[in-house]
Structures are given as C-alpha cells and as structure tokens.
C-alpha cells in the first residue's frame, strides 16, 4: 500500500526502457524468441532436407523387419523380428552390462578405496597406483586393450585355457557351467526366498527389542543359519534338483555351459575397473570427511575397531559418498554405450548403429536413443535423491 502511495507521489523519473522490470521481461522474451526461432528454423530445414533425400519421417519404421542377427539377446529374437524388438534387445543388453558393472565396480571400488586408507604403506601405495593408472587412461583405450590385446590373443577353442576344469577361456569367449533347474527346483528357491524374508523379519524384531529393552540378539549367526540351513535341507529332500551343465569340447567348439561373449567380458572388465577407480576416490574422500575426533571418541567410549567403523564412521561417510557415487553409476551406464567400439550388441550398437545405417532415420533413432539414456539418468538421480534424503542428518 505504502509503495503505491510513494509511486503516486513521486512519478518515476527513469525512462520506460530503463525500468528493471521492463528490461527483465524484454531480455527473456528476446532469448525465448531466439531459441524458438532457432528450433523453428531447424525444423524447416530438416523437413526440406528430408523431402529432398526422400526419407519418410515418423516412427513407422519400427514395425519393419530388421533382417540382421544379434549375437546376444535376453529375449527371443531372430532376423525376422521388427526394429522395435531390436530396440528392446539392445536396451536389455545395456541394462545387463550396466547392472553387473555397477555391482562389481562398487565392490572393487570400496575395496580399493579402503585399501588406499590402509595403515600399511605398501597396500596404500598399491591401491593408489591402481587408481592413478586407471583414471589417467581413456576408457575406450582400456576397452580396446581388453578386447584386442587380452581377450583377442587367447588361444582357439581346442587349446582353451582351463580354470579348475570347469571354466574355459578361448578367443570365442569365456565358457562357464550353466545352472540347470530340474524337477523340484522351484520348491528349493521358494524355501530360500522364505528364509530371506524370515531373516529380515527377525532383524526388524531384534532391532525393535534392542531399542525397547537394550538386550541384544545374536543376529549374525541366527541369520546365517536361517538363510543357509532350510534351503540345504530342501535340496537334500528334493534330491539335488539344481545341477550344473558342464561345458565339453566337441570337435572345434564347446557344447553346453554358458558362453560369455568376448565383447561382453571386455566391456564389463573395462567398465568395472575404470569406474571402480573413481568410486575408490569417492569412498576415500567420504571416509576422510569424517573427523578424526569421531573415531577417537568412539574408541574412548570403548567401541572396538569393527563397531566404530560400522556404527560411527560408515553412517557419516555414506552421506558424503552417496551423491558422487550416483554420478559414477550414471557415468558407468552412459559409458556402456562405448560397446559399439567392440561390437557388443547394446542399445547404442544395435539401434543407433545398425538400425540407423539400415533405415537412415537419423532424427527418430538418435532422439529415441538420447531419450532412453536421459530417462535412465533422471530415474537414477531421482532414486538416489530419495535415498540421500532418507539418510540425511535430521537437523533441528
């Protein structure tokens, strides 16, 4: 109210084009017009170019027959399937290598990160050397190194390198025994799932009881017994329905077992070791971020080393670790698109690679591919933000 009165009393002496509000609106409208104009211009050009090259736009091509084979697919696929199915085959392959890579890289990364903080000088230096070497070489260099130099120079199937007589390494990949589920395997798996659920329930109950009464429960041993014993009993009762099919050399190749493509193994090895080096740095920074006084206070209270780590250091370090860790997971997923360099049939290789070259639908295919990676990124970020909020310090 008072502002209005002031304005009424003293009319502004600034010219209309000098008023901040007017200027702000003008600048923004100008930028918006420029961006929209650029988009419009792009669209016009694209239409003219496509018409000139006689390329039909739209997503109709997804229903056409692909006509090329894919050497690894998690869902049934053959050459007569459509491009839409190619898309899903590629997407699943991307998610497969990303998921396994994230799990392995996390384990290796935490291990190396902790090793870098070791009191043992040699262990710390060794871990430091690993991190420096891996971080300073391009990822594509490492993928090609594993693929061409390490896996590519393995002997042919007849001279396979055998590990324990069960796993075979040769230039066509790594052959491992395949699990085979016989009759009654379902029951064993059901028992296993029930045991895990029972252990989780027990943990919840034990924690609540400890908070209420202060009495502790030997959770580790009972939990282990609960998870291991019932499935074992079930296995014996059902007469060992789960077995392993061992690979055997017949003629020039192996029969039986599961063959991991050399492309897959090279990509997984490179992604895991590369991302692990970055995760190790994240973990180290997180642990160092917990003040030394926290550890000393815990020791002063009489907590042992293991308990200090578990109850004092790790919960505080995790708050620092989680956001950059999320970034590393996203990087790994995005980096899995480098599969195209070695020919692992991930989303990028089969869709933005082969399909693009066969159909020439550059705009649609690159837009879909970018959208998928964007969606994965945003979804992971959202999930990790939720987790981050969950473990945040409850401040007053």
């Amino acid at each position: 109210m008072s502002i209005q009165t002031q304005h009424a009393l003293a009319p502004p002496r600034v010219a209309i084009y000098n008023r901040p509000r007017i200027r702000a609106v003008c600048y923004q409208l100008l930028l918006l017009a420029a961006v929209l104009g650029l988009c419009f211009e792009f669209a016009l050009n694209a239409k003219a170019n496509l018409d000139a090259q006689k390329i039909a736009s739209g997503f109709g091509f997804l229903d056409n027959t692909a006509g090329f084979g894919i050497n690894q697919s998690l869902i049934a696929y053959n050459e007569s399937d459509t491009y839409a199915r190619v898309f899903f085959v590629g997407l699943l392959n991307t998610l497969l290598v990303a998921a396994i890579g994230i799990v392995l890289a996390t384990i290796l990364g935490f291990f190396v990160g902790i090793a870098r903080l070791s009191r043992n000088w040699l262990v710390a230096r060794l871990a430091g050397g690993y991190v420096e070497l891996i971080r300073n070489l391009p990822l594509l260099f490492q993928i090609l190194f594993w693929y061409l130099a390490v896996l590519g120079t393995l002997p042919p199937p007849r001279q396979s390198i055998s590990l324990f007589g069960e796993i075979f390494l040769n230039n066509r990949g790594i052959i491992v025994p395949a699990p085979v589920a016989g009759e009654g395997a379902g029951a064993v798996i059901a028992v296993l799932v029930l045991s895990v659920i029972a252990t989780i329930a027990l943990r919840l109950w034990a924690k609540r009881r400890q908070i209420r009464t202060g009495r502790q429960f030997p959770l580790l041993w009972t939990g282990l017994a609960l998870v291991v014993a019932p499935p074992l009993v079930a296995l014996v009762v059902m007469g060992f329905p789960i077995g392993f099919e061992r690979p055997e050399l017949r003629g020039f190749n192996f029969v039986g077992g599961v063959r991991l493509l050399p492309e897959f193994v090279a990509l997984l090895l490179a992604l895991t070791t590369y991302t692990a080096a970055f995760i190790a740095e994240v973990v180290r920074a997180g642990v160092l971020a917990v003040p030394r006084g926290q550890t000393e206070a815990a020791f002063a209270l009489g907590l042992r080393r293991g308990l200090t780590l578990r109850l004092i250091v790790v919960p505080q370090a995790l708050r620092v670790i989680v956001p950059p860790l999320t970034n590393q997971y996203l990087n790994l997923t995005k980096n899995s698109s480098l599969a195209v360099a070695v020919g692992y049939p991930d989303l990028f290789a089969v869709f933005a690679g082969t399909t693009l070259h066969q159909t020439g639908q550059a705009i649609e295919i690159i837009a879909i591919t970018m959208a998928v990676y964007l969606a994965i990124s945003l979804f992971t970020s959202a999930l990790m933000n939720w987790y981050n909020a969950h473990i945040r310090v409850a401040e007053r």
Partner: protein, 381 residues
Amino acid sequence: MAVGSQPSYIRRAVLEPEPPPVAGAAATVRTRARLFDGPFNTALTLVSIVIVVALVWPTVKFLFIDAVWTGSSRIDCLSETVGREVGACWPFIRAKFTQFMYGFYPASEQWRVDVTYALGAILLVPLLIPAAPSKGLNAILFFGVFPVVAFFLLVGGVFGLPHVETRLWGGLLVTLVISFTGIMFSLPLGILLALGRRSQFPIIRTICVIFIEFWRGVPLITVLFFATYMLPLFLPANWRIDALARVLIGVVLFAGAYMAEVVRGGLQAIPRGQFEGAMALGLGYWRMMGLVILPQALRLVIPGIVNSFIALFKDTTLVLIVAIFDLLGQLRAAFADPTWATPVTLFTGFAFAGMIYFVVSFGMSRYALFMERRLNIERAR
C-alpha cells in the same frame, strides 16, 4: 539391572597402555611398525609384494629387457627369428610414428604441425608457471592469437600454404586439436550457462537448466552421432560443415554443460555480501560478474576445471567411432597392417599410446593438485 544386560560394547577391563608413537624412531623400527605389526598386516604386506613383483617385473621385461629395438618388418619381431622370448616391438612404433603423430597429413607439410606445436608450447609453458611475468598479455596471445594462427597454419589455403583437408588429419594432431578447441570454447560457454542457471529471470534459468541437464544426461557418443548425422539435416542444404568441425561442435556443447556445473559450484561458494557490495558500488550486472564475482569464483574451481579438461582429453578418443582417426584410431588402423602382424604388436602399440595418454592426463592432474595447494596457502593466510 544385572551386569549381563549391560551393552556388549562397553569394556569390562582397563586396557593396557599403548606403546609410544614411533614417529621419531629409527627407519627400521618405523618400517616394521608400518608393514609388519601383527600377522594380518604382515600377510597384507607379503601379498602386496607378490602383486607388485608379478606386475612390475613382466612389464619391465617386456618394455626393455626383451624388447626388439631395431628392425624393418614383422620378421625382426618374431621369436623364431630373434631366437629368444620377444618383448615390445619398437620398430613397429618407429615405422608408424608419422601416422600416429600426423595421420595422413602430407609429408611435405608436416613442418606446419610442428611449428604449431612449438608455438603452442612456447606460449603455454610461461602461462602455467605462476612466477612468469605478464600473464595478461600471455593469456591474450595463447587464447586469442594462437588459435587463429594455428587455424591458418594447419588448414592452409592462405599465404601460399597449400590447403590440407581435415580428413587427412589424424593421430595425435586430431587428439590435440579436439582437446584444445573443446577447452577453449567450453569454458566461456560453461560460464555463460552457469550465469544463466543462477539468473533471477525464470525463462533464462529454465532454458539453461534444460540445456545443461540434457547434455549431461546423454552419453558423449550419442552427442557425436547427433553432430555427425543429425546436425547436417537441421542446417540449410547448401551449408556444408566439415566432419571434424561437426564433431568439434558436439564436443563443445557436451563439455560446456559439464563446465557449467563446475563453474556453478564456484558461483555458489561466493558469499552474498560480495554481490551486495558490488551492487552498492553501482556496478551493473556484467561488471559485477566480470570484475568481482567471476575472478573469485573461477579461482575457487580451478581444480574442477582442470579435471573437466582431463575428462575432455580422454573423451576425445570417442571420435574414432564416428570415423575420425585420432591417436587411438590410428593405433587401431596400424594393428590391421599385415606387415607388422606379430604376437607382440598389440601390446607394443597399447604401451606406446598408453604412455602418451597417461603422461598428459597425469601431468594435468598433478598441475591441478599443485594449483590447489597454492590457492589453499593463500586462503589460509
């Protein structure tokens, strides 16, 4: 309550006093305390020694002891010819050296590349040494004059220099051109985007956020495909953009988005009082940013900026997927040459290229560390 119900983590006996710290003790005592106190630590040390020996000895043996130093073809690098186990095949690198350095840049014009490298090095080195004088002039020469000179030197077509098409470029030349261009343009783009993201105008902010998050959310390889296959469709039909230039555009947009986030970190660390002080002095937006805020903010994030540069340098390898032959691309092409096909060619090539990549990246990261320490000393005062 009974003693039994006491929480298990509380000690019931007084601990023995610990031995005094060994910092001042003799070297042997210190080593023993660090490496061999207790069975677990001793085991760790022994395992580490085994790993180090298992890694270092074969590497040294391969690179130096068993290496073949002279020769003219694959015959000289076969163990049957040499009569012993064969390590690195260095004649392979010597034979392919020009290809690794210049690609297919015409041999009679390669001096132009060398001159460009020399010029860049002469201008860059004093820029990196904090004690060297006249930083301002040096920076103008390096970031303003050098790119123009380098462009005309490398591309040619003026002053009687024959024109060299970019599809003949390759090897380390392309790696460095992409890295340098990416670094040159991504920093200003990143600063603009970061300012836009921190702007009080909602439309500008939204546009910048969408732009940044889009490029950060997709892999670089899709960006390169976008630049190579989609960009020509978006431009008027009579515009022809060089393949290398298209890739450069993609790299700059991608790196700019990452740079924006680094710079934003610096902007957020500047206290509000600095903005208010600049405004109270009557500075407008651009002067406030240029004279007061950005000099402080950019100094804070020098390590982050250098880390982005390292990432950019490593990412240049991806251009080989869109058929531009950088160092790694030339390496891969050289492996296909049957005159040098031996069991050790692959390892030799990877060792050579790996050393180049490692030296540059590691050098940059050490420099970032050095700058960080320097800045921290200044701030501590």
